[in-house]
């Protein structure tokens, strides 16, 4: 592969990370929950693609396993679970928001800038292929965090949590070419369990309040 110089490789990794950020914004702008789930599956697919690229460029074998796990767990299993939850709860769209969509988008734009400003001093020291992705990874984590605060339905918050996790995985790949395999396996297992528990919790919320609005939880008394 003579044409695949480190420079072009780094640009391809940047491109993959940018696709992740693009889907992030699509999730923030989207109100229909089923579309949010589809977008999350797509984002995970882009994440797996970026990770595979990093594995190929650096020759770090175990990232291939992590990428394959990403596809299985985050693009297939978790979206399937989420679709079942949405189907059972019969919630189709996010109607109540703490922050409306255009304002959320502007705030997310500001968060991306913040992430870039924070990582700027670190980036200039780095010599890794993936150093630019670090800023994007931080931006995705911040956007996921913000979405969890800004939305009231439990399902959207769960998706935002998973988006945050995607950002962390990208960050780990960007900062250190992936964590040790055993850690990554543990994280995948945790995320899967977390998604399942949050799914069950959402169902219980629906049973208790006839709504998946998490602000109702403040009504709970002993």
């Amino acid at each position: 592969m003579s044409w695949l110089t480190p420079r072009i490789g780094a640009q391809l990794v940047d491109l993959g990370s940018a696709m992740l950020l693009l889907t992030c914004f699509a999730i923030v702008a989207q109100r229909r929950l089923s579309a949010c789930v589809d977008l999350f599956a797509l984002q995970s697919a882009f994440l797996a693609m970026t990770a595979t690229l990093v594995a190929f460029l650096t020759g770090t074998r175990h990232i291939y396993i992590a990428a394959a796990l990403t596809v299985v767990v985050k693009s297939v299993v978790i979206p399937h679970v989420l679709r079942r939850v949405i189907e059972r709860l019969n919630v189709t769209r996010e109607l109540v928001m703490n922050v409306n969509v255009p304002a959320s988008l502007l705030i997310c734009g500001a968060l991306v800038m913040t992430a870039f400003i924070i990582t700027q001093p670190i980036i200039s020291f780095g010599h890794l292929l993936t150093r630019n992705s670090l800023a994007i990874a931080l931006a995705i984590v911040l956007i996921g965090f913000f979405t969890m605060i800004a939305r009231q339905k439990a399902v959207t918050q769960l998706i935002a949590f998973l988006v945050m996790e995607n950002g962390l995985f990208l960050g780990a790949t960007a900062a250190t070419y992936g964590m040790p395999l055993i850690v990554e396996l543990g994280v995948f297992f945790d995320v899967l369990i977390a998604a399942l528990i949050a799914g069950i919790y959402t169902n219980r919320l629906q049973d208790a309040f006839d709504s998946v609005d998490t602000s109702r939880l403040s009504e709970l008394k002993e």
């Binding site: 991306v112 870039f116 800023a135």
Partner: protein, 321 residues
Amino acid sequence: MLIPTILSAIVLSVTQVLVLVMLAPLIVGLIRKVKARLQCRRGPSLFQPYADLAKLFRKQSVISSTTSWIFTATPYIVFGSTLTAGLLVPVFVAQVPLSFAGNIIALVYLFALGTFFLILAGLDAGSAFGGMGGSREAIVASLTEPAMILSIFAIALTAGSTNLSTIVHKTALLEGVATDPVPHLMALAALFIVTLAETGRVPVDNPATHLELTMIHEAMILEYSGRYLALLEWASAIKLLVFLTLIANVFAPWGIATDPTPLALVVGGMVYVAKVSLLAALIGLIECMFAKLRLFRVTDLLGVAFILALLGLLFFYILQD
């Protein structure tokens, strides 16, 4: 300038505009055909828009007695400004002879001039629908403009010039893109949304219906008939094609003729038609996949476009090294 004589420059300019003018109804026909096929209909022939235009040109036009000169002048102004915008965009040759006359900022405001007069004409006839369509168009236009300017600036920065010919020429010779593809990706997504909004395609406006609740562009031209209507329809088809040309040639100009040899010109022309047809098919696909947005949700979509364009600009500064 690459082209040595003034004569060949004139010929080239005229040919590029003629291609735009003649190809525009075909592209509209293609979008309709793709849409019809995806909806399991046979759909009208690809050349139906030409027949429609010919029919409208033969018909007598009825003009309301309450209208002023703006109403009759608008179709010519809209057609003229769109055509002038077409002169500035490289179609199948990277270097447009008239490129010294205006850059991308001029292009954006030539379109804005047409939109402005369309809004005035919508108000001029005094019908309720015209005013409604005009106010809606004003919302959409004011929201697309920043997104469009920013997305084109992101591209202009990578090429180091706001001149469209220079941008396309440099990108075609891989002088600009070598920096980074990320700003391009963001700006492409933004410009595509802007194109859908500016040309009144499905998520923003539906060109196929005349439903009071939803129409934007159709509401403004409701009072027009005969040759005036034909001119406006033709102008909106050309506007669509100019936008598609802009996307095709600014973001993926490969194949465009970078020097005026006959072979390069033929290849450039064929590649151009292929690229534009592909984009038109994509628009047809999108029109099938998505429903029209509620009017007040259009701002969300255009907000996404604006933020993406802004990020494109930001990425240019961050990722350059």
